[in-house]
Amino acid sequence: MGADTEATARREVRVTDASGLRTAFVRAMMPAGRAPARVPSHSLVLEHVVQDPARLAAYDRVCGFTLRDSVPPTWLHVLAFPLHVRLLGAQDSTVRLVGAVHVRNTMTLHRPVGVGEALRIEVHAEAPRPHVKGALVDLVGAISVHDETVWTGVSTYLAQGSHVAGDPVDLPRDHFEPGTPQGLWRLKGDLGKRYKAVSGDPNPIHTSRVMARAFGFPRPLIHGMWTHAHALAQLESRLPDAYTATVGFARPVLLPGTVGYRTAAHDGGWDCAVTTKDGARPHLLMRVEP
């Protein structure tokens, strides 16, 4: 049976609204132990999601976007994110959001999406893949308007300690060369709280020093998707109507902190690097391609 057939046969579970998310969040936060990696086979669907312009405005302010009629693709990721939590918080998931590291993300904006458009959001998990440090899980999101797919996204999480049978696969290696930053972002200690408020991502390692320490970080770290969004916001006027943005999260950014940023055009697209402030090591590498 081919993957396509599998996808069409996937059972859809409709989620009416955000109710029950709290329980899912709690469960998604519970460490799962060293079980074989297993993810739900069904997909979750949110129908008729009406976008809230006030929340979009707040999101834009935190991430550095201009408030426009068309929304940033990273905002669409934020709208799909509750389904990530819910999927990994399901009874039949042994992969938990806590302890799962967001290592890679790809999203494609197929056309400009208006803030006034009602969206259908669907998320499913692909079968876990073996990795030397655990299991890789792809959460695949698709957003459509009247049956037209307008956005697709793949978030790759590394479930550390989890395991899958088979030969370990490697993540793609992003090319990086040290270089002098073109800009410095001075990130305040409350950035995690501010992004939490607009994204709904409740992971306490972004807001609590105690929780960050419990996971081995000296200080809270900013959400990778904020760094992704802020990097994209630097390019905003150069972005075409449709494009793919791929990021690799190399190492977390601690709060408060200062990071470097640089970007360069490449055949029709852009490469961006968020680095340590001396430009020597990468935090995030992003490629935008039309």
Partner: protein, 422 residues
């Protein structure tokens, strides 16, 4: 002027009342939206334009480079330079003249003049007292000295200071000033309510005819000016209670402009540039004149444009009857009435140093698609709304048709400009 400067087109966001449908948008967001609509309409994406001049009356200190930052967020080439200008409610007309003058002198081929204001996103500052204490604390050499400085903070220092629309030298708000002017010029409640009702009626008709289809781009779900009340009448307006001039006052919320959010932009170019690109040429910018009154000495605050109009017409050798259309910014309906009375007043005009009365205006030529009472008045945007509106109207009337724009501004200033259809 060496080069003919033409109005190619304009674009603005719909205007809305403060706290209304555009309340989430900052000055930066609004200005970017106005620029992007203009760029899209004229195929300027990725184009390096000569310069963009914009401004806002209520501006956050972080927005010191407001217009340049909006250019960087817009679809224009990031190599497009920009500057901020501010001349209160005349800002959008002053940015127009700044760009037009540079084009006329051959310094630019084309540029954009713009203005924006968000009274929903007005900057709130700390009080002067608190600022001084904080500065003293910062300068303190020892922690003890710092604590001593901070100990001077009192609850009253913590009240945020909203920007005030009061004139710094008189302490009177603009409405209070206009109430004095209205009484001096015997402006009646009926005259004001008629102007307000006409403004709404004409604006509604213009929207109905599709006049604004190529001048306004919807933003954040708002497609039309939100202040517009197509069904308002003199009867309805006459029921409103006065807000300026005391209980016997004649100025109401209906015949005064509302605090508004919005942005406007106008594309200006040399004739050569516009022709090369096959872009429309609506009207030529002919000339402009700025004037000021001595309002701390008792002059009418908002009648600055009268002297400017007299001097401009004299310089151009024109009469009031030479103008097919006239736009007088409706700061208040009372401002329009007192301005027209002042135009016709021989003695007043002579007191301004003019040779005689400016003249009587045929009211059918005035604000024919409505004005600020119905559209709204985001302070700095109004001038950049008026220029493309009048240019389009004159163009429809045919080549050679002349129009006059008159805008009053805080500080007792007035800016007027002449356009002529191409």
């Amino acid at each position: 002027m060496n080069h003919n400067v033409v109005v190619v087109g304009g674009n603005r966001t719909p205007f809305a009342k403060a706290g209304g449908p555009l309340r989430e948008a900052s000055n930066h967001d609004l200005l970017t939206a106005a620029l992007d609509g203009l760029v899209a309409r004229h195929g300027l994406a990725g184009v390096r334009l000569g310069e963009v001049a914009g401004g806002a009356v209520l501006k956050h200190s972080k927005d010191f480079n407001l217009t340049r930052e909006a250019v960087l967020s817009s679809a224009l080439s990031p190599l497009t330079p920009a500057c901020d200008l501010q001349q209160a409610c005349a800002t959008g007309l002053e940015t127009t003249m700044y760009i037009a003058n540079k084009i006329a002198l051959g310094q630019l081929d084309a540029g954009i003049a713009a203005g924006v204001d968000s009274t929903s996103d007005a900057p709130i500052a700390v009080s002067d007292g608190l600022r001084r204490i904080l500065l003293a604390a910062q300068a303190a050499k020892t922690p003890a000295a710092r604590l001593k400085a901070l100990a001077r903070i009192r609850p009253s220092h913590l009240a945020p200071q909203a920007p005030s629309v009061a004139e710094p030298r008189t302490g009177l708000s603009m409405g209070e000033h206009q109430a004095l002017t209205g009484a001096r010029w015997s402006v009646t409640r009926e005259e004001q309510d008629e102007i307000a009702a006409e403004s709404h009626r004409k604006l509604a008709a213009a929207w109905q005819e599709g006049f604004f289809d190529d001048l306004v781009t919807p933003y954040l779900g708002l497609a039309k000016d939100a202040i517009l009340r197509p069904d308002t009448t003199v009867e309805k307006l006459s029921a409103l209670r006065p807000v300026f001039g005391g209980p016997e006052g004649t100025m109401t919320a209906g015949n005064s402009t509302a605090l508004s959010d919005g942005a406007a932009a106008v594309l200006l170019a040399s004739e050569t540039w516009a022709k090369e690109r096959g872009l429309p040429m609506l009207a030529r910018i002919v000339d402009a004149e700025i004037a000021a009154v001595d309002h701390p000495g008792g002059d009418d605050l908002l009648l600055g444009p009268v002297a400017a109009t007299g001097r401009l017409l004299a310089r151009q050798g024109l009469e009031v009857s030479d103008f097919a259309l006239v736009e007088i910014h409706e700061a208040f309906a009372s401002t329009v009435v007192s301005t027209l009375k002042a135009w016709a007043d021989e003695e007043y005009c002579r007191s301004l140093g003019l040779d005689g009365a400016i003249g009587e205006l045929d009211r059918d030529r005035l604000n024919v698609t409505g004005s600020s009472l119905a559209v709204g008045h985001p302070f700095a945007a109004t001038g950049a709304r008026l220029v493309p509106t009048l240019a389009k109207l004159l163009h429809e009337k045919g080549p050679g048709s002349k129009g006059l724009i008159s805008v009053c501004a805080a500080g007792g200033q007035g800016l007027v400009a002449i356009l002529e259809a191409v």
